[in-house]
């Protein structure tokens, strides 16, 4: 089991630690998931995301090589931008969903999930040209997510100028508490927020300094999960996997089919299922793996994520509905068994519509 550089800090903050994708991670602090969730929606929270994998992929052919592996182009990506992308298998399935940072003319920083770190690395080594340098920097890169409507204020209080803050899905080099840091305006909560990349050894100090800023509290993986669920964001391994295409996962508009890439042929067959939101009638949650039934009692799909939604006051779920079944907004559905008490209606994503993620900064 791997430890992040912040383990001592979490224990000092009396976090409850759990195993997650090979790492020991804080699931919650004493305040609890609901408080941490609410605090992130209204103020600002720091999350330890050092478990995420980072690959530096550089050299001649790096950008075009990556382009061939991804559902979205990397070649037309501007320096200073971040792009949510999909690492593809031949069948059009998603090997990992990740964010590519274009950091140089022929250099990208690829940030992926913790659970797919080894398989991503093997795939990059197998499929990128020999001229390309692939560095797994996961164990030398510290990462802290600062999320919530006060995030920009927090960074300004910490000494950053307004014009040094990157725009939505952009990144910049900044100096934070005397440390050079890669700062991107990205996140996984639906709120205004930043992801901060710093050297591993400096991470505890920067975490502590951020927590000293007014309005900032720590939040764990539990709140991260309810926040991303309300924001309609998929979790790899749960809502999306090698048997799911990006089109099925709801990202058809992002996939660039007018180019050649691995998995393109697989996508031509068309989606077999569709990702939907379900608003439940009540507080009781539907859980991963539950069957979804139509009003007529026909099995039509499966729940992939579900929880009580703290900001909404009712339970929500995300599910795949088989091609051919009715999935228009308002369609009544039942979870677990036909006519069960776990009833709801298909609804659009995100569930929580007033998130500040895209907010304009003054």
């Amino acid at each position: 089991m791997l430890d992040t550089p912040l383990k001592t800090e979490h224990l000092r903050l009396r976090a409850r630690m759990v195993p997650f994708a090979g790492w020991t991670m804080p699931v919650q602090y004493p305040e609890g998931i609901r408080q941490e969730h609410e605090h992130t929606r209204t103020r600002a929270s720091v999350f330890d995301t050092c478990h995420m994998s980072e690959f530096r992929i550089s050299g001649p052919g790096a950008v075009s090589g990556l382009d061939r592996l991804m559902a979205r182009s990397t070649e037309d990506q501007l320096q200073g931008s971040c792009r949510y992308n999909f690492l593809m298998n031949e069948r059009g399935g998603v090997l990992d969903d990740l964010i590519l940072y274009r950091v140089g003319e022929d250099e990208s920083l690829v940030v992926g999930n913790a659970g797919t770190r080894t398989s991503d690395l093997v795939w990059f080594k197998e499929s990128l040209p020999g001229s390309v340098r692939i560095l797994d920097e996961t164990m030398s890169t510290g990462k802290i997510d600062l999320q919530g409507p006060l995030s920009a204020e927090v960074l300004k209080n910490a000494g950053l100028e307004s014009d040094s803050l990157p725009g939505y899905f952009r990144w910049k080099w900044v100096t934070l508490f005397g440390q050079k840091a890669l700062l991107s305006r990205t996140g996984y909560t639906g709120e205004l927020g930043f992801e901060i990349y710093i050297p591993w050894a400096r991470t505890p100090e920067i975490w502590t300094r951020l927590l000293e800023q007014p309005g900032v509290l720590p939040a764990g993986l539990g709140a991260r999960d309810t926040l991303r669920l309300e924001a309609g964001l998929p979790l790899y391994g749960q809502d999306m996997d090698a048997n799911t295409t990006p089109v099925e996962a709801g990202f058809e508009a992002m996939v660039q089919m007018d180019r050649s890439f691995i998995g393109r042929e697989g996508l031509l067959a068309g989606p077999k299922k569709f990702f939907v939101g379900i608003r439940l009638n009540g507080r009781r949650a539907a859980r991963h793996g539950m069957e979804v039934y139509s009003n007529e009692g026909q099995p039509i799909g499966q729940v992939t994520s579900g929880s009580f939604a703290p900001s909404l006051g009712y339970a929500v779920a995300m599910a795949y509905i088989r091609d051919g079944a009715t999935r228009t907004e308002g369609t009544p559905v039942f979870m677990n068994e036909p006519n069960s008490v776990l009833s709801g209606q298909i609804t659009g994503l995100p569930f929580y519509k007033t998130g500040t993620a895209r907010m304009k900064l003054p």
Partner: protein, 125 residues
């Protein structure tokens, strides 16, 4: 006097009526409780039957009847405020009251001291 189960329910019998809930330890372990399935008035349960389900953000957990009995009333406040179990697990956050209780069954349960010992062992892990 309160009795406890190894599955972290508590029960207190007064004038033939048993009040049932989950323990402070269970509430803390579950975290923020978001839903409680309340048993229906009049339904009957044997000792150890699933009486209720308590859900937190992360998990759902069965609540077993510490003694057999017939549901006299359920704590309706929990329908809208399940977090009351976190705030006051062994008082205001009771789940239901049972009538027709066989007080002999209390002998199968843990005393305050025995349950306290069990929880302190669990907390050491």
């Amino acid at each position: 006097m309160k009795y406890y189960t190894e599955e972290h329910e508590w029960v207190e019998v007064e004038d033939g009526v048993a009040t049932v809930g989950i323990t402070e330890y269970a509430a803390r372990e579950l975290g923020d409780i978001t839903f409680v399935e309340l048993p229906e008035k009049g339904s009957e349960f044997g000792q150890g039957d699933v009486l209720s389900v308590v859900e937190s953000v992360k998990a759902a957990s069965d609540v077993f009847a510490p003694v057999s009995g017939k549901v006299l009333s359920a704590n309706r406040i929990l329908a809208d405020r399940p977090e009351l179990i976190n705030e006051s697990p062994e008082e205001d956050g009771w789940i239901c009251k049972l009538a027709d209780v066989d007080e002999k069954e209390l002998e199968n349960l843990l005393t305050d001291a025995e349950y306290g010992q069990m929880v302190s062992n669990l907390s050491k892990d």
